[in-house]
Symmetry: C2
Subunit: 354 residues, 2 copies
């Protein structure tokens, strides 16, 4: 892998479009900043990344992204503290995971310098776009896709690595009701579930639409063998609190190794909360809901941060979670966002200053 | 679904590039004809398709195809007989399957008229591109992908349906050695394996690369639970002949309902070949190879037509298939291509004249 890199070139916009943006009413990921980073893979090597005005991409109709779903992405955020200093959260972990996804999807890995220097240069250039309203943030989307052409079902010979930035509001609005799914599945043993591969997401859309028709905003996936174990929710990992113990499933080749997931686990341990990482059966969650020992369920992910689940549905029965005065979700969300926004000490070394 | 359609507009190229093509040395799917069909889905409806010169597609960086793999495709061929009449093979089945894939991937279904009229108009316009050399054909690639934008992991609001044409040689060159895979998997129960969804293909690339390093050109996938049953080969369905019986696995939510597969089955029955559609265990195939009752294995698919397998590998042992003077593969391939090229009667009503 070529890891030497020339200086990133920057072509600035003539006129910023930032004044057209209503920063008080941001959706998630629907407004984009003035610039983007683009890096091409050609002739067996990644070329020097360049920053250019945010603009359309032109591709051959036979580009393999259209036909064979060869694409991966990451989700990150940039945070601005009260002194206008900019922070990332564990960005090297995103780079590492992007390359884990790349390997599984037969996409050439991206050198750390290309990723990190590109990320920093782009966010620095568009730093005015980082929202400062509570609950908002600058969502960062690095992605790689197959731009090489041809209808043969084999890896492409050319790729594009792009980073776009989207000032964003919350991923979920309102309460989060989830459905425990028993018919459809997200991933196979030996499949690509642990990769942030595009196709993992499209496959969830239809079952999620069916769940939405019943009033649920997300599906909780279970294993495809017997639908016996809770896995993840597609856009977030899942935590359950039974009694005083916080439990989440182990990562595997079916479950994404979430950065928020592992951070929440570490914070919980640091706070003295009893944690367990083990397979969670659907039946124990239902049983715990019935006998009152199920105190909380929440999702954890970069986009969703920590999203408390108000209700879960299983086999046509809705189980409401209690509203606790002092929930783990609230406590853990405060602790992680305080670290992210530089409002608290970071004993874990997770903050990464721009 | 809006099924009324205005007349398809046609914008022709000023100069054809057909003279630049070496029709005697065609790869598979790497040369494209002068024109393409494009049909946009916007504001909840498919717009009238148009035929335009083959050209790049321009998309927003946030188009969902890049991020969430929301794409499907079909593979078809057009054949020219000795009197220069053009034929399709069961094209309505491709349309039907495209919509089955569309439903599973939360993509709006395409009306039959849009598909069939678009297909016919495009192939008619570029009919000079249909190769007439034996073993070559005009490969047709209809595909739909999410062009709507935004980083929210949910179905797009805009799509493109495109048809491209590629005069093509054989999909495989030389003997086909396959590896029975026991670690990686192609699809999950309740997943999207039965859909021709882009992500199903990219997920196979890495395991196929690993197999290629050992000298195999394709992987035969097995179920993800116990790797006990033979499923399909990704680019083709699999048939095995044990004794005189031709066997293929049943379609399911994990296995593509191949049009060549079901045609081969019907031809075999018509020819009095004993057939079975049932789950095939890996162990029975290995056992049959050892005791000499395994006579043939072959793949069947639009791109690969009927591809005899010369060797299969399993747990570091290679099993060579015998070379038969009168194989089912040769007989069935001749019968299906004779029907496709209008060299024989078509008692099944599969040919569809342009």
């Amino acid at each position: 892998m070529n890891t030497t890199m020339q200086k990133i070139s920057i072509e600035k916009v003539k006129t910023s479009k930032i004044d057209q943006v209503d920063f008080d009413n941001l959706d998630f990921g629907s407004v984009f900043t003035d610039h983007m980073l683009v890096c091409d893979y050609k002739n067996g090597a990644w070329e020097t990344p360049k920053i250019i005005p945010y603009q359309p991409i032109s591709l051959e109709p036979s580009a393999k992204i259209f036909h064979y779903g060869q694409s991966i992405f990451e989700g990150m955020k940039a945070y601005k503290d009260t002194e206008n200093k900019i922070w990332f959260f564990r960005p090297l972990d995103n780079h590492r995971r992007l390359n884990i996804s790349a390997k599984r999807m037969a996409i050439p890995e991206i050198p750390e310098a290309f990723f990190m220097e590109g990320l920093k240069a782009l966010v620095k250039l568009d730093e005015k776009w980082i929202p400062q309203k509570d609950g908002s943030s600058l969502y960062i989307r690095p992605f790689i896709f197959a731009s090489g052409k041809g209808f043969h079902a084999s890896p492409a010979d050319e790729y594009k690595f792009i980073i776009c930035l989207a000032p964003s509001g919350s991923y979920f609005s309102g309460k989060v009701k989830v459905l425990i799914e028993e018919k459809y599945s997200r991933s196979a043993n030996g499949g690509v579930g642990y990769a942030k591969a595009g196709g993992n997401y499209a496959g969830q859309f239809y079952p999620t639409q069916l769940a939405a028709q019943k009033g649920y905003s997300q599906v909780i996936w279970t294993d495809d063998n017997n639908h016996e174990y809770i896995e993840e929710a597609g856009a977030m990992n899942i935590f359950v609190r039974i009694g005083d113990t916080l439990i989440t499933g182990p990562t595997s080749d079916r479950i994404l190794d979430g950065i928020t997931r592992k951070s929440i686990l570490q914070i919980a341990e640091d706070e003295g909360i009893p944690t367990e990482v083990r397979k969670i059966t659907v039946s124990e969650v239902v049983e715990a809901a019935k006998n009152g020992s199920l105190k909380e369920m929440f999702g954890a992910g970069t986009a969703a941060v920590v999203s408390p689940i108000s209700t879960f549905g299983f086999r046509d029965v809705d189980y409401d979670l209690p509203e606790l005065a002092e929930s783990y979700a609230t406590r853990l969300k405060k602790r992680i966002t305080d670290i992210q926004f530089n409002r608290a000490e970071d004993p874990f070394g997770w903050r990464y200053g721009l």
